[in-house]
């Protein structure tokens, strides 16, 4: 791709300490993501794909390596700058929606704008526009418990969009949904991508790949080729003989 990548990751490592054991969630990842692409990050659980997504969104800090987003190094930002970065540049979508139960769909969508100083009128307008964009204009005054899983995730998508970020980060967005609503969310993400946003989706739902412009395979904290990934997922476990005691 000739275009300057919107995200550049170099030798990214993230190590967690669990008790006395060190777990290398990311063990030196290099990655370029082009603006306007829809990148799917595939990998089994424990491959470090969610960790990678959170690092991209500035929700977590790397152990070493650099993350460059729009020319700015996230690894060098302080907490305050990271907060502002998340506010302006990225929108998160989570597997478990993370809606605030006491708030209506509208209030949930407005929530991110309460930290920005946008006028009240503008907030209402913007949130209403986002809700109708995800097809939930009529459900604006319902609380999350009164909405289906797919609808809840749509509210979450609207919330992610409301500050108009150029990058959307989705962590297993279809993981808690039935196949139909999951597919609806995938189409919605694809639509956002076609409107010009960079979308990065972490999933192990193979159907997402048909919308992807770019697929990244992660295994044990490292990017691998599709062939290697295939090989690993077809690895057969030899049947163990029952041990005699």
């Amino acid at each position: 791709m000739s275009e300057q990548p919107v995200i550049q990751i170099r030798n990214l490592r993230k190590t967690f300490t669990m008790g006395k054991q060190k777990v290398h969630a990311l063990a030196g990842v290099d990655l370029d993501i082009a603006p306007g692409s829809l990148t799917v990050i595939m990998g089994p659980s424990g491959s470090g794909k969610s960790t990678l997504l959170y690092l991209l969104g500035g929700l977590d800090r790397p152990t070493s390596g650099t993350i460059q987003v729009n020319g700015r190094y996230l690894d060098q930002m302080d907490e305050n700058d990271l907060g502002l970065f998340r506010r302006k540049s990225v929108g998160f979508i989570f597997q478990s929606f993370n809606l605030i139960p006491s708030m209506t769909a509208m209030q949930n969508v407005i929530f991110p704008m309460r930290f920005t100083g946008v006028s009240n009128k503008e907030r209402q307008k913007q949130a209403a526009r986002m809700l109708s964009q995800v097809g939930l204009a009529k459900r604006a005054l319902h609380r999350p418990t009164e909405l289906s899983g797919g609808q809840q995730q749509r509210v979450a998508v609207a919330r992610a969009l409301v500050n108009n970020p150029p990058i959307i980060l989705a962590d297993e967005p279809t993981g808690n949904l039935d196949t139909t609503s999951g597919f609806g969310i995938m189409k919605l993400l694809s639509k956002l991508n076609l409107e010009g946003r960079t979308v990065i989706v972490v999933t192990h739902d193979m159907r997402m790949c048909q919308f992807a412009s770019n697929i990244i395979y992660l295994l044990d904290g490292l990017t691998v080729s599709e062939a290697e990934y295939e090989a690993a997922s077809h690895f057969e476990i030899p049947e163990e003989e029952p041990e005699e005691v």
Binding site: L59, G83, R87, N98, P112, R114, N163
Partner: protein, 443 residues
């Protein structure tokens, strides 16, 4: 984050958990009410104590007495009267020269010696009479002493007399027949009264002398020593005292005065002037020092009472900290979300501090109200109780038991808010520094 967004978010969060916020605030209400009520009680006691203080109406006044020093106990120094003595170096007498020195102290307005009559006298008015508690003052106007006039005038000249407020009620008719009603005393203002002086010669002979005086004024009740005295000019009194002393005149240059009133230009300089006179070696005493002593006692009482209330508030503070810590555990995912959608650590800190301060504020508001109402109720009850007591024992009650000044209410609300804020510090800091990823995954 804009201020109003913050306020609305905080109030929403508080409303979301009404029950818990209410229970936590009740603790603050009790603490604040205790502080308000106890401090009101101390303030009320102080007010009724100072209002009952004997004779402290004039804060510009300083009473100065001679200092007989240690010598007072070693040798018999004659009081007033004739005799010599008073030459020991540590005996400081108030001679006219000394009075001039005192008058020269900056801030001193008047230096007025007083003296009592050294003998017996009766004041007679028609068939009425009364014992004459006579006082001579070396000034031509009692106003200079800070006395207040009820009617007539306070000017003292030869042949005039001014009566204190109570003495005019002490006139009685001697030798009333049993069953005969005491007639009412006519107004003695501008009337002539007779002062009958009596002394005994060495061989036991009674000698009397009568002086006619005109009552030119009656003083207002000031609840001090002036109420029970008649006032005449010093020259007149000294003449009578000389007569009592068998013609021997008191030498003020040698014996000084026993009682001098110094009046300062303003109450503000009184303590300073008192100090300077004391430094000169005389015994200066100002009512203001008593008032200050009493006031400082009540300030201590207020602090102690307030401190007892503050213990309740401390317990409430722990309650707030506890509630907030729980709230943060419960809302961990929400905090993670707030961070994910762009809240900075400072935003999170401010929100949770605001919630804690909000609980403190609500509790403070309720507590101030409860304390105020409680003080009022206490007053009503104690008024009734004191009134019934007073009726049984036959005196008037002046009892106001609790006094809640506005500043106390405002202070209590502010203080409760501050307590809430401080209790919120630790939980809010914990919330602000939560790792967003950990917070989002918290179950």
């Amino acid at each position: 984050m804009r201020f109003w967004d913050l306020v609305s978010l905080i109030s929403e969060n508080l409303r979301r958990r009404k029950g818990r916020v209410f229970l936590t605030a009740v603790g603050v209400v009790i603490g604040t009410a205790a502080v308000v009520l106890l401090v009101s009680l101390a303030t009320g006691l102080q007010k009724s104590a100072t209002s009952n203080l004997w004779g402290i109406t004039d804060l510009s006044r300083i009473d100065v007495y001679p200092n007989y020093g240690e010598g007072m106990y070693m040798e018999a120094v004659p009081m007033g009267g004739g005799g010599g003595g008073g030459t020991t170096s540590n005996v400081k007498l108030l001679t006219p020269t000394v009075l001039d020195e005192i008058a020269a102290i900056p801030g001193v307005k008047f230096v007025i010696p007083r003296d009592y009559m050294y003998g017996q006298g009766m004041i007679q008015f028609g068939k009425f009479e009364t014992w004459a508690g006579l006082m001579g003052v070396k000034t031509d106007n009692l106003e200079n002493l800070g006395y207040e006039l009820d009617r007539g005038s306070m000017e003292l000249r030869k042949g005039t007399i001014v009566a204190g407020s109570w003495v005019v009620q002490n006139f009685y008719v001697p030798n009333l027949r049993p069953g005969q009603e005491m007639p009412e005393l006519p107004d003695i203002l501008d009337q002539r009264v007779k002062l009958k002086l009596t002394k005994w010669t060495t061989d036991g002979q009674e000698v009397s002398r009568t002086v006619e005086l005109k009552v030119v004024g009656v003083l207002r009740e000031m609840r001090n020593e002036a109420d029970g005295s008649f006032f005449v000019s010093m020259e007149e009194l000294e003449a009578w005292n000389t007569w009592f002393n068998n013609g021997q005149r008191i030498n003020r240059n040698k014996n000084g005065y026993n009682d001098v009133i110094v009046r300062a230009e303003s109450p503000e300089v009184v303590m300073d002037v008192t100090q300077q006179i004391n430094d000169m070696g005389y015994m200066a005493y100002s009512p203001q020092s008593t008032v200050e002593g009493i006031n400082s006692f009540f300030v201590i009482l207020q602090v102690v009472f307030g401190g007892i209330g503050a213990i309740a508030l401390l317990v409430a503070a722990i309650g707030i900290a506890n509630t907030m810590t729980m709230a943060i555990l419960e809302r961990t995912r929400e905090i993670g979300l707030m961070k994910a959608v762009g809240a900075t650590n400072r935003d999170v800190l401010t929100i949770f501090l605001g919630e804690a301060a909000g609980i403190g504020f609500l509790g403070g508001l309720g507590g101030a109200l409860l304390g105020w109402v409680g003080g009022y109720a206490l007053n009503v009850v104690s008024m009734q109780f004191l009134a019934s007591q007073a009726q049984q024992q036959g005196y008037m009650s002046t009892g106001l038991t609790a006094d809640t000044p506005l500043w106390l209410l405002l202070f209590a609300i502010l203080f409760a808010t501050l307590v809430g804020f401080l209790s919120g510090l630790y939980p809010a800091l914990r919330a602000a520094t939560l790792e967003p990823v950990t917070a989002l995954k918290y179950e």
